[in-house]
Symmetry: C2
Subunit: 306 residues, 2 copies
């Protein structure tokens, strides 16, 4: 059974509640190690009106502080970062095979003076390896060629060489033989009538497949019909050229189930694809754990295939 290191996220949010509620099920799938101190766990459980599970394997981290449900705080921000670093360390030291992160609050990190925007860029910096963002669930994964940049800049990145490199790296990390690639423009450019980027995508696909000596990458697909049944029956993995091209259909179809995967060559890391939900934290609102369970399952699957 794989050992999974779990960073507990912002303790003023819903992360701990999800971890506790899911523990029984998670334990059947893997050996979880939760990065949280005994004091914080005991206190969190008290606030939630829950018993501390006897077999809740923890790893101390960070400086204890007073949990304030739903509050953006420097202390909570600092703690969630320490929990993340501790979980990462467990993986780097081979005490765990993968890392699953519960949601942090970006503003709390900023308040704590942490220079990273979130888990994704912190991970890249800490392990010195650029990751590919993949979001989805077992029915549909979208892989983002570009992500948090203004829409008007997307086209500047859609270049043949960069795409080919991205395709080959992705194939190496995913090890999947059938990956769809979307075009950029309406109707995938209508044969060059609407923008010229789709032709570059087509050429990059051809070049990458030639290197791989098999037709792994298919496309460019016309974006607006890419996620119709006909295609989702044939593909699970879709390379999207920009953030909303991938995330609009994903969240439209599978909002609650989705997870976030940082594909890189060093550390397997998956994450829930939702936030700290401060508005419902510690209010007995039973936050959904579907995304969390999917993140655990995908972390196990990826660590088994590597």
């Amino acid at each position: 059974m794989k050992t999974i290191a779990i960073s507990i996220g912002d303790l003023n949010g819903i992360g701990l509640e999800i971890a506790l509620d899911s523990h029984e099920e998670v334990q059947k799938l893997c050996n979880p190690i939760y990065c949280i101190s005994e004091t914080m766990l005991t206190w969190g459980c008290a606030l939630l009106g829950k018993e501390v599970p006897k077999d809740f394997n923890i790893q101390a981290c960070g400086k204890d502080f007073e949990i304030q449900p739903g509050v953006v705080s420097k202390e909570s921000g600092a703690y969630s970062f320490e929990s993340f670093k501790q979980a990462l360390l467990l993986v780097q030291n081979k005490q765990a095979q993968a890392l699953v992160t519960l949601p942090i609050h970006k503003e709390a990190w900023a308040k704590a003076g942490i220079a990273f925007k979130g888990h994704t860029d912190a991970l890249e910096e800490l392990i010195q390896s650029k990751a590919i963002m993949m979001l989805g669930c077992d029915k549909l994964f979208t892989i983002l060629f570009t992500h948090h940049i203004p829409l008007k800049e997307v086209s500047l990145h859609v270049k043949k060489k960069a795409l080919k490199k991205f395709f080959l790296k992705l194939y190496n990390l995913l090890n999947i033989d059938n990956i769809a690639v979307l075009g950029l423009n309406p109707h995938a450019g209508d044969n060059g009538v609407i923008g010229d980027e789709d032709k570059k995508i087509a050429k990059a696909i051809k070049k990458a497949n030639k290197v791989l000596q098999k037709d792994v990458f298919k496309g460019p697909l016309v974006p607006d019909t890419a996620f119709c049944k006909q295609n989702t029956q044939n593909f699970t993995y879709f390379v999207c050229m920009y953030h909303d091209q991938g995330l609009i259909p994903l969240k439209t179809l599978y909002f609650e189930e989705s997870i976030n995967v940082s594909l890189n060559d060093k550390v397997i890391r998956t994450s829930v694809d939702h936030g700290t939900a401060f508005d419902i934290a510690y209010k007995s609102k039973q936050p959904t754990n579907v995304s969390y369970l999917n993140a655990i399952k995908e972390a196990i699957r990826l660590s088994e295939s590597h």
Copy 2:
């Protein structure tokens, strides 16, 4: 009961079959006038192995030619354009209240020397009125602020004044009091961190609502969660900044049901949102008529509300 003029589309495609198959149902909703000559109707029915319905009200148009199932032809292109013009004329002469178009083939129009790319721009030119493109079904309508332009050019159009003008025109044509507006960038710009266009959209919304003296337009919505349940429960109409922002979620959710509406101040025109399907024309494949029936219903609804 409203009278609806129906242009028959490319007779080498599936249009006639859909019209014949749906006639009984359509007749319960309105008085349809089909723009097709008796010869062409008789011949098409023979090819389809169907009887000519006795109460099939037709209006002659164009030059008869030999139907060749699935073939892009000059004659068929010319005929579908004549059928379209005839149907439009019926509306302009007040013999019909709205126009519903069956699919034409763009290449066939080009072969016939017709200078328009399709119905939408032909209509704009013939009635001298710019239309707003709206696509969808009764569960979800997406309204396109920009459409068939390269993605990299979208940002150039997202200007405060142009948006405000668009919003006011749209409100006039739709007469709906609750319309969602999407942002442009990932996370609707994350407070200006990712591009500055979302702030312009916010200002335009404010200005338009001020003119209308009510909060008709809501947003800008974060694009990737715009079509989640929480929003689709609150909104049916969504203004999208670019083609795929609207059409990806629409086709992902309601591919077969969708229709195309040309919102303008002169002629009510709706259309099926699929093509001529040459591959299954005259092959007893029973093409779906859901989009066609929805186009008829929306044409009736719009003509009743104007």
